[in-house]
Amino acid sequence: MRRTTYIQAINEALREEMQRDENVFLIGEDIGHYGGLFRVTRNLLDEFGDRRVLDTPISEQAFMGMALGAATVGMRPVVELMYMDFTLVAADQIFNQIAKYRYMTGGLLKVPVVIRGQQGGGKHYGSQHSQSVDSLYAHFPGIRVVAPATPYDAKGLLKTAIRDDNPVAFLEHKMLYFTRGEAPPPDEEYLIPLGKADVKRVGTDVTIATFSYCLHQALEAAETLADQHGFSCEVVDLRTVEPLDTDTVWESVAKTGRLLAVHESYANCGVGAELVARAYEEAPYLLKAPARRLGMAPVSIPVSRVLEAEVLPWKEEIVATVLDMERR
């Protein structure tokens, strides 16, 4: 298999789906002529023209609402939010409208909108450009939430998301854009179903359930824990937060007896809290030690790299938490 970047994988998924289905169009800020702030949509305007790649004014509420309208009559808009933080600017259209529209209309309409863009910290963008919104999206019924960690997963999941008849929040991570990984060449099509977790590292002592950039932090932590402490971590990449594949997690915990959930959105009321709660509700007998979660500390994200590193639940914190769990 060839190696490619996360950005390239997403670009290819968009391109292939636009070629496959003329109802797919892209809409967002600076995505056409500029090719996207992070160059994710580069070259697509040249190939598909300005009727398939629409540069908008800075009007997140309007173009999000327009995506809904177009989707109800069979178009498949892929909306780029330049930063997923801008979810909050378009919140009424996303949570009050797109997520609820099918339900409020008694199933008469469907809204196949993909909302994609990058989230997360690590690049010192501060409080309004570094948030992770996976837990926020997951709180609302009616919208799928996907957060891939590798180029292979990003491509296969985005293609599925575009074909899905439901709204999907497709959450990329700014730290992943230039990472590389294996993926089949463009002429070998593959799709990855939503709601299927993937075990990225096999282990026996503790299950780390995570997704997006934290997956890589967890894999590094697992390396350190194996080398320096002799602990064997199994790392489960959830890949999608809604649907949440608890079966795969419980299967792993059945082996390890320990569960640590890790993500970059706030720990408070987050996906990890949800996963831990479900573990106690659905499979408490599997747990040999208290299940734990790690997430963003309850502060706004500071710019200073020293302060930012303090609030991100990355490798050092994962290692420390696993060691603490093993002591119990």
């Binding site: 309208g69 109800t72 008469l108 599925t160």
Partner: protein, 377 residues
């Protein structure tokens, strides 16, 4: 540029009452009328006045039936709300009927409409069945959305009714998206979106004005200006009271019309639709109208004197339509006959809704997601 010299100006509640317009007043037998038509199309557009052709009497009779059905359904719903059969917030459109009926008759099969939570009249004007509409408001299983949407979410895609909305102005970009779909596919469908004067001050409205005008979307913005954003008159909320001035700032063609006269509404929407279909872009229509009932069922209406409402009753859509029919030689007896028929039809609709079963509890959990197993395969 000709501005409405007698459009509603601010000050006191008395000032807010619609001024009498001599010509129209004469026509309607000395009744108080709203502003005369002012068609202010942008300088780039040569039209300065809206021609209002007389519609065939047959069409006026149909429109009268429709407007009356809306009125009687709204009254039946208010009565049902008083009896405790309807919960939540319900906003009736009594007095607004001509805006919806005139517009619906001006558009074609295949066109799209979205509207505000004051949307019962649009639903019926676009052909929704009153029985199923009332059932929806009552939360019964025969409602269009199986009782899940209720009064604020009328929807009927088969009629082009793509959804009313509970959030002020949220439906406006939806219509722009429908217009965009039509434009991208090279179809000649247009979309119309209805909202009130209060919606003018939501940010998303202005975002959509800008995009629609710049992209020349086949879209009609129709503002039903009833002079109150819920309970507050515009002179308390904005220093610009001529609403059509806002969209004009975005480079859009605008019209200010009498929204209580179906023929005028029909002519204005026809003209806007023609512009939209020919690729000339969106038009903003401000229909001056008046809400005769409260903002919602149970409104105390402390914000306007009863005399103001009484005054408006002299020039409301049904009065205007009846006087048109009489002038066309349709007799009082014929009109009374229609009144009885429509009354019976609404009685039957209410009975149908009241007999409609409550939804099954299992229905609660359906329609959250589309079962997309197939699309994932």
């Amino acid at each position: 540029m000709k501005l409405a010299d007698n459009a509603t100006r601010s000050g006191t509640a008395e000032d807010l009452a619609i001024q009498s317009n001599s010509e129209a007043a004469e026509e309607s037998g000395g009744l108080a009328t709203p502003a005369s038509i002012t068609t202010d199309i942008l300088p780039s557009d040569s039209a300065t006045d809206l021609e209002v052709p007389a519609l065939p009497t047959e069409s006026l009779l149909e429109m009268y039936r429709k407007a009356l059905a809306i009125r009687l359904m709204e009254e039946a719903l208010l009565a049902a709300a008083e009896e405790g059969q309807i919960g939540g917030a319900m906003h009736t459109a009594i007095g607004h009927e001509a805006n919806a009926v005139g517009a619906a008759y001006a558009l074609q099969q295949g066109d799209y409409v979205t509207c505000t939570y004051r949307g019962h009249h649009h639903g019926l004007a676009w052909g929704m069945d009153p029985g199923r509409a009332i059932a929806e408001v009552m939360g019964r299983s025969d409602g269009f959305a199986k009782g899940k949407g209720g009064s604020m979410h009328f929807v009927s895609p088969e009629s082009g009714m793509m959804g009313a909305n509970g959030i002020v102005a949220a439906q406006v970009p939806h219509a722009a998206g429908l217009a965009l779909a039509s434009q991208l596919r090279g179809e000649d469908r247009v979309a119309i979106t209805f909202f009130g004067d209060g919606a003018l001050f939501q940010g998303v409205m202005h975002e959509t004005f800008n995009i629609a005008a710049k992209w020349k979307l086949p879209l009609i913005f129709y503002c039903e200006n009833n002079r109150y954003s819920e309970m507050t008159p515009i002179w308390r909320t904005s220093s610009i009271e001529d609403i059509f001035l806002f969209p004009r700032a975005y480079g859009m063609a605008t019209m200010q019309i009498d929204g209580n006269d179906v023929e005028i509404v029909h002519a204005a929407v026809s003209r806007a639709a023609e512009r939209a279909r020919s690729g000339s872009g969106p038009t903003f229509i401000e229909g001056i109208t008046y809400r005769l009932a409260g903002h919602m069922a149970g409104d105390l209406e402390t914000y306007r004197p009863p005399e103001e409402v009484e005054k408006q009753k002299a020039y409301e859509p049904l009065v205007v339509l009846r006087s048109k029919l009489l002038k066309r030689g349709v007799g009082e007896t014929a009109i009374a006959g229609i009144d009885r028929e429509v009354d019976d039809m609404i009685d039957e609709a209410v009975a149908f809704a009241e007999k409609s079963p409550w939804p099954d509890a299992a229905e609660t959990y359906r329609d959250v997601f589309v079962d997309s197993a197939a699309s994932n395969a």
